[in-house]
Each structure stands twice: as C-alpha cells, then as structure tokens.
C-alpha cells in the first residue's frame, strides 16, 4: 500500500491540528496558555482502567466455532415429531412465511426430515445427545446447552460476521478484539486474541481474516492466526548465526528508527508496529515453550485422541487452545469448517462429529481437572441452524438441510454458565417456544460473564460510540450460575 495514502487514511482533524500546533508559533502559544487544548480526549482509554466493571466469572474464552452451521436437529434438539412425519410437508402454519435461502426458495415441496441418528438422554438434566457425540454426552453435567439461540442472517458470511462482530456488515471489531481492547492480555508474551483454523471433510465454507479483524480498534487487537503446520507461528526460530543479543540490538535500532518516523509522520500504526515487534520477540521464547507437546503426559494425548498430535487438526487445535488459554490468552478462537450439510447430511455429519466430539469433550475435562474450567468459558456453536425439512431429494436414509436462522443450539461450559438445558423449541424444531436468545443477548451475556457491562463498554469512532452489542442485547440471567 502506498505509504502516503496510508498516512492520509490515518490522519484525522485532531491529529492534524495537534501536529500543526507544533509547527505554528501562534498555536504553540495557545497550547501554552491552555494546556490540554490540543490533547486527544482520553475518555476511550479510560475504559482500560475501569474494566472489568465487576467481578468476572470468566477470565478467558475459548470459542469453538463450528463454521458452516451444524444441524441442531441431528445433534442436540431431539424432535420425534419429525421422525413420525418423515416425508410429510412442513405445515405452512409452522413456517409462517419465513424467508428461505436462494437454494431452497424454488423447491416445490418442503418434506420434513426426521433425524437418522439415535438420541439418548445424558447427565442429571436429561440432556438429549445424538449417537454421533458419545464423548460430549459424558460431559452433559458440565454443559449449558442453549437450544433457542436465533439470528437475523440466513447466509454464511453475514451470519458469521454477525456472530463474530455483532453486525452483519463487516469492518467492526471481532469479539476477541473487543475483549483484547477491554481486558488486555494477561500474558504479555502472547497475543490476547489467537485464531486457530481446521477443516473437516464435510462441505465447507471459507473463513476470512475479516472475522478476526480489529475493525476500528487499534490493530494490536486483531486476532493472530496461528499456522496449521508443525510450527504454529512461522519464522520464530532465529537463523543459527543470529544470537538472541544480536536480535535485541537489531530490534532496538529498528525501534529507534520507527520512533523517529513516528515523530515525523505521526501514524499511530507505527506505534503498533513497534509493539508488535516487541511482542514477537517475546513470542520467540514463549511460543515454543507453550506449544511443545513434550511436557504433555500421555494421558492427555489419549484424552484428546491421537489426532491431536497431527498439527492443523481440530483435536490439535483444541489441545493448543487449552495450552494458550492456561497461559493467559484471553480469547482463543477456533474455526472448524465443513458443517454446511445441504446434501448427504448423515455421512458428512458423522465425519464432522468424529473430528470434534472427543477433543471438545476432552477440552472441558482437561480444563476441569486442572481447576481452570471455572474461569474459562468454552463456547461451541455455528452461525445458524439447519432446517427441519429436506433440501433436495429425501430418501429413506439420506437427506440434506438448508440454513435455518430461527432457532439452533449452541453449548457453553465453565466460566460461570449454568449447566443444564435452556430454552424449548416447538415440536417441529422450527420456532422458539421459550427463552429466545438473540445473538446480541448472547454477546451481552458473554460480556457479563467477563465482568463487563456491555452497555458501558464502547469505543468512539466516526463521531459515534460503538459497542459489540450495537444498540441491543440483554444479559440472559437464566444462563448464568
């Protein structure tokens, strides 16, 4: 990018004036007579000093994002009615004019599709789990299963963006960036917001770096994407001939040069750059120590499944997420792709569940036995749900499901959530009967768990104060223990 253009983009009236004041004698005098005349308002920075607003229940978040939207009807939201009416048309009174995606809008029929999987109840709350999730079912008593979350978007990208940033339109900061901005990093040797990607064999939807973007916040708050290869962070190892001391010297010199150009140009991104160099210098020591599997006992490998030894898999990412989180990373965001089961759902879903079941359960168990589950909030869920009717041809044992925003299931564990099953959908799994939880409510609740009043946590940008929950969102107390 053209540096002058970039500089121009970062320039605003206040910075322009404050720069000019150094050049013009008159303004300089003005600033002498009235100290603070040209200072930037520090009201935004004040937040950093007053957060958390109250005692947080959760200190860190691990968000296991299931990208593509897993079918709630084949995993958690058991609807025998659908099995009874398998193949029958979805009653118009249930659909009630709900908008459809371009993929099924032209479909002549909407035959209901009962799940092919066997369901059974687990835990003291009798939560239903399909047979595809045997390991997670064992953790039922630690899970807060919300069956009635709903969203406004019906296609992947806006829905994902909505979940991640509180707005369907892009360019807002991601949840992790908000947390990083508000609460900062516990461990100064690691980024506050880390992103890990993995891919299942099912029909996938891409994830883009805009989902972990810092938006209008300082770019130090953007998510740091770890590589899925053997080295989670590339180029951390110095070449043989460079010693640690040399590196320090180089960095000091570069930093001095950067300071100079900051004084000259005033681009705040230069400051961010300096901070990022320093962080990566410390990461050189921290990351290998933290990501090494050498110190993990064999039982951990058994717990997460041997796949956790294969870099880039969901299991490996879950294990890495635990390691990062226990080392003070505020927000670890995983994305597992491949849940977009428009067709061939039974086979694809089974594959996806195999990827995530054991390792997600292991993550809860692992945190729990270390005494960290209470302060770590684990969230599992997609961007919307899937329809109760079939997309494409419905056969006896094969079907597909389209996007369904009106109700779907996510679960959370630890971090002050109340274990149990929350909310009820109707017999068709189409509408919400009780405890609707909007995405904004979900965000508000998570903020609350982190000790943040979502309505008071704002950032002023373009003359307006923004928050993660936009202008809505209520804390859902039913979900909080």
């Amino acid at each position: 990018m053209n540096e002058f253009l970039e500089h121009g983009l970062n320039q605003n009236r206040r910075k322009f004036l404050s720069k000019m004041s150094l050049g013009l004698g008159g303004l300089a005098l003005g600033s002498l007579m009235a100290p603070g005349l040209f200072n930037a308002s520090n009201e935004d920075e004040l937040f950093a000093n007053v957060l958390p607003h109250f005692a947080p229940k959760a200190k860190r978040i691990i968000y296991l994002f299931q990208n593509g939207a897993p079918s709630q009807l084949d995993l958690f939201d058991y609807k025998p009615q659908l099995q009874k009416m398998h193949g029958e048309e979805l009653p118009a009174s249930i659909r009630n004019g709900q908008r459809l995606t371009g993929m099924t809008a032209n479909q002549a029929k909407f035959p209901l599709a009962g799940t092919k999987f066997k369901f059974s109840q687990h835990g003291s709350n009798g939560a239903w789990f399909s047979e595809t999730l045997p390991h997670l079912a064992k953790m039922a008593d630690d899970m807060c299963i919300v069956k009635t979350i709903y969203t406004e978007a019906i296609n992947h990208d806006p829905a994902l963006t909505f979940f991640q940033t509180g707005s369907q339109v892009g360019n807002r900061p991601s949840m992790g960036s908000w947390i990083s901005y508000g609460l900062g990093s516990e461990n100064k040797n690691l980024p506050a917001f880390c992103v890990l990607l993995s891919k299942g064999k099912g029909n996938g939807q891409g994830v883009y770096s805009k989902l972990w973007n810092n938006g209008f916040l300082d770019s130090i708050h953007q998510g740091v994407q770890f590589s899925s290869g053997e080295e989670p962070v590339k180029y951390l190892t110095d070449p043989e001939f460079i010693k640690r001391g040399d590196k320090r010297e180089i960095l000091d010199e570069i930093s001095a040069l950067n300071q100079e150009s900051y004084k000259e140009i005033g681009d705040p991104e230069i400051v961010t750059k300096i901070q990022q160099y320093e962080l990566s210098y410390r990461m050189q020591m921290a990351v290998p120590e933290i990501t090494s599997l050498q110190n993990e006992p064999e039982s951990i490998v058994k717990m997460y499944g041997p796949e956790c030894l294969v870099p880039g898999t969901y299991a490996a990412n879950c294990l890495l997420a635990r390691k990062l989180s226990e080392n003070g990373v505020r927000f670890v965001q995983l994305y597992h792709q491949g849940w977009d089961t428009h067709g061939n759902l039974p086979a694809e879903l089974e594959g996806q569940c195999k990827d995530i079941d054991q390792s997600s359960a292991a993550l809860i168990q692992d945190l729990k036995q270390r005494g960290l589950l209470d302060e770590t909030l684990v969230i599992w869920g997609g961007e919307f749900g899937r329809t109760n009717y079939c997309q494409g041809a419905l056969t006896k044992d094969n079907y597909g499901r389209d996007h369904h925003p009106k109700c779907f299931t996510i679960w959370m564990a630890g971090g002050g959530v109340k274990p149990g099953v929350h909310g009820e959908t109707d017999d068709f799994g189409y509408n919400i009967n009780s405890l609707p939880v909007h995405v904004h409510d979900f965000h508000a609740t998570i903020m609350h768990l982190m000790g943040v009043k979502h309505e008071e946590f704002t950032y002023k940008h373009l003359g307006r104060r923004y928050r993660l929950t936009d202008v809505a969102g209520n804390v859902i107390n039913d979900l909080i223990s």
Partner: protein, 722 residues
C-alpha cells in the same frame, strides 16, 4: 482652594504618609487593626486601579515625549496625585493583607512591589522638579519609564493573582467560564474512605479555592484531613459544643443572606445533596478513616456518598485509591485486581524458564490482598511455598506441574481461606497423599497423577468427604491407536540420493519401515534411527509402535529415481491456457506438483489430448516410464485412461511401442483427491532416439458426477524414465 494649593498640601502630606507606609510595612507582623481600619482595607481593590492607570500613562508619556516640553504646572500636579494615590493604595493594601489569609510568598512580593511603586512615584516628583540631567536626557527618562512600567506590571499582577487565582490571565479553557476546569479525582472503590469518596471532592470543588494553599481565608485550610482537624482562626470546625453545632455544620446551614454563610454569597453554592453529605458526615463524628464498605448499605450517608458525582464543570478522573500494581507486573508475572475497585489481587506466573523467586518475594507487600495465585509449571521449591504460606487471604492456588513434593505443601494447610488447590501432575505416593490430606480443610482439590490411577485416587478421596475432589484420569486402561509419523522430506525424486527424516510427536515410540512394499512388522522390520538415505526407486512404508498403544496405520510413499534424463523434451499439444505450468520443462524439472493444481507445477489438459516428445541424441534403451497425475474428483480431475508410446529414430516415421491402459472405473465413494503414478513398461530392447507419448483423459464423466457427460481434466507432472 485652587489646584496649586491642593498640590502643595498633598505634596506635604506625602512626607507623612510615606514614612507611615514604610513603618507599617516593616512592622506588619505586629500590626493589629480595628474594625474600621479593616473596612478601609477593603477599599484597596477599589482604589488600586487609579494609580495603575496614572502610573502607566506617566510611563508612556516619558517614552512618547522626546523633548519633555509639557509645562510643569500641568505635569507636577499629576505626578503628585499619582504618588499620593499609590501610597494610599499601598497602605490600604497592607490593611487588607492583615485581614485575609493569603499565599505568603505572593503577599510579600505584592506588598513590597506596591511600596516600590509608591516610592518611585514619589521620587518622580522631585526628579522632574529638580534634576537637570533627568529633564534634559530623553534616554534617561525612557530608561526610568521602562523600569517604572515593568515594576507596575509585574507587581500589580501579583495582586491580581491573589484575588483571582494564579491563572488570572491564562487563556480561558472553555468559553463562558472564567475559572479553570477543576480536575476532581473521584475514588470509586468500596475500599476507599468516605472522606476520599465524597467529602474531599466536595471541599476541593467548593471550598479549597479560598481555604487552600493559594488563599487561606480565616486561617482555615480545607485541603487535607490534618488541616481540617486543625481548624481555623475561630478554632475547631468539626466538633459541636454543648449548645452549639459544629462550625462547619453551622456555616453551611446559615441563610445565604447571613454574613457568615459559607460558601459566601456570589460563590458557587453547595447543592442540597452536598450539604446533606457534609452535615451527616459531621454529625457522624467527622471520621476521616471510616471506609465505604464499613458503612451499612442502607445508611443514608452511604447511599448519598456512593452515588455522589461532582458537578458538570469538573472533569472527573476515575481512580482507585488502591496501590498501583505496575511495579509488581513483569512480562512473566501478571498481577491485577480482580476487577476495577476491588482490592483483591489475582496473580499469574507464566513461562517457567523465566521464573525468579524475587518476583514472588516482592508480592509479600500485598500478602493480605492476593486471593488467587497461578504458578502452574513454575520450578518451585519449599522456599516458594513458605512465601505463599503468608498470603493469608488466598482462596485459589494452582500448583499444577510444579516440581513440588507433597510434603512441602504443609504450610498451605494453615491458610484459612484456601478453597481450591490444584496439584495436578505432582509426583507423590499414596501415603504422601494420605498424610497431606490429614487435617486439611481445603474445600476443593484438583488432583491428577501419572502414577496413581483414578480409581485408586478416588478410594483415598472417599475417606475425606468434606473435600470435593476433581480427579483426573491417567487413562492407563484406555488403549488407543497411535497416529502415524510424519515424513520430513518434501521431494520424492532421488537424483543421486535422498535423505528422509521421520518424526513423531509422542515420546518413546518406535518407528519401523520397509523399502520393498512389504508391510512393516514389530519384530523384523528395521527401526528408524536418524536419517534414511534412499538411492533407488523406493516404496517406503512406515508404521509406529508404542507399548500400551495399538500400532499405527501404515503410511507409504513412493520415491522415484530419475535415472535417465532426456536430452530434450517438447509438448506437441498445448495444455489449457490456465494450466501451462512451465511448459515441457515442468515434466522433468524434478519438482512434484503437490496437491493444488493451480500452483503452476501441473500441466492441465481437457479438450486437447496430451502429446509430448522425448528426444535423445543417441538411441536410448528405456525399460519403464512413470507419469505422475493428480486426481481431484470434485474439481473434475480424473485419472489417466491410457498412455501410448511410439518410437522413431529419424523423427518422421514413428512405430507404436506400447500402450498402457488403466481401465478401473471410479465410483462415487472412491478417493476424492490423490496423486497417482501411472506406469508404462516397455518391451525388451526398446531403443529409439525419439519417443512420442499420447495420454488420454476421461471423455465422459460418469452419471453420478455433477458434471456427467462432460470431459474430465487430467493434470500431469513429472515424467520419470528408467
């Protein structure tokens, strides 16, 4: 009386007035004034502007008038009047200074400055009248005038600062307010004292401008608890007498028209709320030490103070009154309050290799405040534990994977408030655990041992029903299949030799391999040590073994010896425009294409049939040719159908040598994505200069494929000749 007489009279009066002025100035300390003279003092601000204006005009006159020819009968009365007014104002000023408590340094400068102005004014009369040099020298007059003006400006400004504050002529900060915006620090945490939370902000905002460091009216300072307790000229202000309310209480309650009402009429008044807070605080004894959290939550004083915020023209700085933790924080230790305003502290250590005991030792300063301590993975000894033992309010300690002995944890049992102790991964025996649990009152313990199994731990735990145990499983009994190793070699082509490394993330595994396509077994197959050197075509198969685990799946990989390099090679038919690769070179560049067909390392054909020519300068015997090809069913990339080869020595007439067909049908469930090698065997004694290859692709995609009926792609890279 005419002007001349008046002038004479006043001129004489100055001889009385000025010595008197000097007298009271020198003996200022001992001076005692009556009510009337005090009242006269109040005239000082009224009169002071006359001599200033006159003095400045006189100064300007001396500068402007070069010749000095204004008649003395005009100038003389003005000079006399000026001197008289200056002296009067100076006397009144001294009277005023007796009455109010002002900043001593300012008073001193202003008083003597004022006297100097009066004296210069007096001297001026005689200089103008009798001094010939003064009258004739313009330069001297200007110099004199300059000094005079300077003295006037500097020392009268001191006076202005006394009355209007030090920043009297600073640039106004906000339109409409002549006073600077005050910065009031409001301390919001519940641990703060009531005084700091509400009383001090009120006093600072409404009272300190007259009862503070700059101005000490009535000898009363309201800026610190000590000064408030000291009281003022009329004594203590906080204690009530038998029949009289405390003075502070009385003054703020008097009617605003009353002379003694505070703040005085004309100043910013206290709000009802502020009056309520101050008076309730005084009634409650005016305690400076009582903390907000010591007040009952229903106490009206608490309720009022808790929601108190200073008025609009103040800038509120939210601060906690708690110690700043910056000095305890480092890159490897995070020390934070649990939340804003809490005095409870959360401590996290990171990265064991940087651990230093001094950092923990320093936290002894905060020993009553630390409630949570995470030292997971730190290399600790019993010395560290004895430091932790002093954190008497600690509730949660994480000592997972520290090198500690259970015996050294004894001091922790004394911690009364300890609710959760995590000791996963510590090494201990059953008896050591039993000893530790004896007499422990810790409510929750997280425990995991690599040695003692879960059932055994559960048995021990069952003997201590008061403690809730979370026991980690070492999963001894669980037998899983181990995952295969990774091969650390990107190239699959052996030119002279190729070194292959293998890696497995788990400790204590045995990697066995074979080079001849036979499945490795746990007994006879060679064990991989450091590096495996390959020198010929190899079908490498690897399997991992580890006691307690099911051995891994076999992974295999082909390595190709590229024995014969053609002298030249060219493409007869051109690949698709999008997948030109590097032309014919792509086939023999010793680099394999990888799994992504768009990476320019593949030649892609769809509608044209792939044909290429391999040339040797001399006839060359070939036994075998391999073509590597990509299969990616989802992207319409199917396997090769057939490869036929023709030979020629003159490059014109070609004879068919052989055709290899690969007749298998792909079904929907077949491998979606793969790289496969297609082999062509040549009859014995095949020897030509030119070899022409024709590679056929699938012409009609099967019915199950979304693109049924259309032509499939083939992607080819690397040709090996042997």
């Amino acid at each position: 009386m005419n002007l001349k007489k008046w002038t004479g009279f006043v001129n004489n009066a100055l001889w009385v007035l000025n010595p008197f002025l000097l007298l009271i100035a020198f003996f200022n300390e001992k001076l005692k004034l009556g009510v009337y003279l005090e009242w006269f003092g109040k005239m000082h601000p009224l009169f002071l502007h006359f001599p200033i204006v006159l003095g400045i005009l006189i100064g300007i006159y001396y500068i402007v008038d070069k010749k000095g020819n204004v008649a003395s009968n005009i100038l003389h009365p003005i000079l006399v009047g000026n001197a008289f007014l200056a002296s009067i104002v100076a006397v009144l000023g001294i009277f005023l200074s007796k009455q109010d408590g002002y900043d001593d340094a300012l008073i001193f400068a202003h008083q003597w400055g004022g006297i100097a102005i009066a004296m210069i004014g007096w001297a001026l009369i005689y200089l103008q009248q009798y001094n010939q040099r003064f009258k004739s020298s313009y330069i001297l007059r200007v110099e004199f005038a300059m000094v005079y003006l300077l003295v006037i400006i500097i020392f009268t400004h001191k006076g202005a600062q006394l009355t209007h504050g030090a920043s009297v002529i600073s640039f106004p900060q906000k339109e409409g307010t002549s006073e600077n915006t005050q910065v009031i620090k409001v301390v919001t945490d519940s641990n703060a004292t009531l005084y700091v939370r509400a009383v001090a902000p009120i006093l600072q905002q409404k009272c300190v401008s007259c009862h503070g460091a700059n101005k000490v009216k009535g000898e009363l300072l309201l800026n610190t608890p000590e000064n408030i307790q000291k009281g003022g000229k009329s004594g203590n202000i906080l204690t009530a007498d038998k029949d009289k309310e405390a003075m502070l209480f009385e003054r703020i309650h008097l009617d605003i028209t009353h002379k003694k009402h505070m703040p005085p009429d004309g100043k910013v008044q206290l709000t009802t709320e502020e009056v309520a807070i101050l008076s309730r605080w005084i009634k409650a004894g005016g305690d400076f030490k009582i903390k907000m959290n010591e007040l009952a939550k229903t106490d009206s004083l608490f309720l009022l103070a808790n929601k108190y915020t200073p008025a609009n023209n103040t800038k509120v700085e939210v601060k906690t009154g708690l110690p700043d933790l910056a000095e305890y924080n480092s890159n490897y230790c995070a020390v934070n309050y649990l939340y804003h305003g809490s005095d409870a502290i959360d401590v996290n250590f990171f990265q064991g290799s940087f651990y230093s005991r001094d950092v923990l030792k320093k936290l002894e300063d905060l020993q009553d405040q630390v409630v949570r301590l995470n030292m997971q993975g730190m290399p600790l000894t019993n010395e560290d534990v004895s430091i932790i033992g002093q954190f008497n309010n600690i509730e949660n300690i994480n000592l997972n994977y520290t090198n500690l002995d259970l015996k050294t944890l004894e001091p922790l049992k004394q911690l009364k408030k300890l609710k959760l102790l995590s000791i996963c991964g510590l090494k201990f025996t059953e008896s050591e655990l039993t000893n530790f649990l004896k007499g422990s009152t810790i409510a929750n313990i997280n425990i995991w041992s690599s040695v003692i199994g879960k059932t055994q731990l559960e048995k021990i735990a069952a003997r201590y029903p008061k403690t809730k145990f979370t026991i980690g499983d070492n999963l001894e009994s669980q037998v899983l299949k181990i995952n295969p190793p990774t091969i650390d070699q990107d190239s699959s082509i052996i030119s002279k030799f190729l070194d292959v490394k293998m890696k497995h993330m788990l400790n204590g595994v045995t990697i066995r391999y074979t080079l001849n396509g036979v499945d490795p077994d746990s007994l006879t197959s060679p064990i991989y040590k450091n590096t495996l050197r390959l020198t010929r075509n190899t079908n490498l198969k690897i399997k991992v073994f580890k006691p307690g685990w099911i051995s891994s799946d076999i992974i295999q990989r082909n390595f190709y010896k590229s024995e014969i390099r053609p002298d030249s090679i060219y493409l007869i038919s051109s690949p698709d425009q999008k997948y030109l690769g590097d032309g014919a070179r792509t086939l023999v560049d010793l680099e394999l294409g990888g799994s992504n067909f768009t990476n320019k390392k593949w030649l892609g054909y769809k509608d044209t049939t792939m044909k290429f020519m391999v040339n040797f300068k001399q006839p060359r015997v070939l036994h075998q040719a391999f073509l590597n090809s990509l299969i990616d069913v989802g992207s319409y990339v199917f396997p090769i159908v057939s490869i036929s080869v023709e030979g020629s020595n003159d490059g014109i007439r070609f004879a068919k040598i052989t055709e290899a067909k690969f007749p298998y049908e792909l079904t929907q469930k077949d491998v979606m994505k793969d790289i496969k090698t297609f082999t062509v065997d040549f009859p014995n004694n095949t020897s030509f200069k030119h070899y022409r290859f024709t590679v056929l692709n699938v012409k009609k995609l099967p019915v199950w494929h979304p693109g049924k009926g259309t032509t499939a792609w083939i992607f080819v890279d690397e040709l090996f000749l042997n």
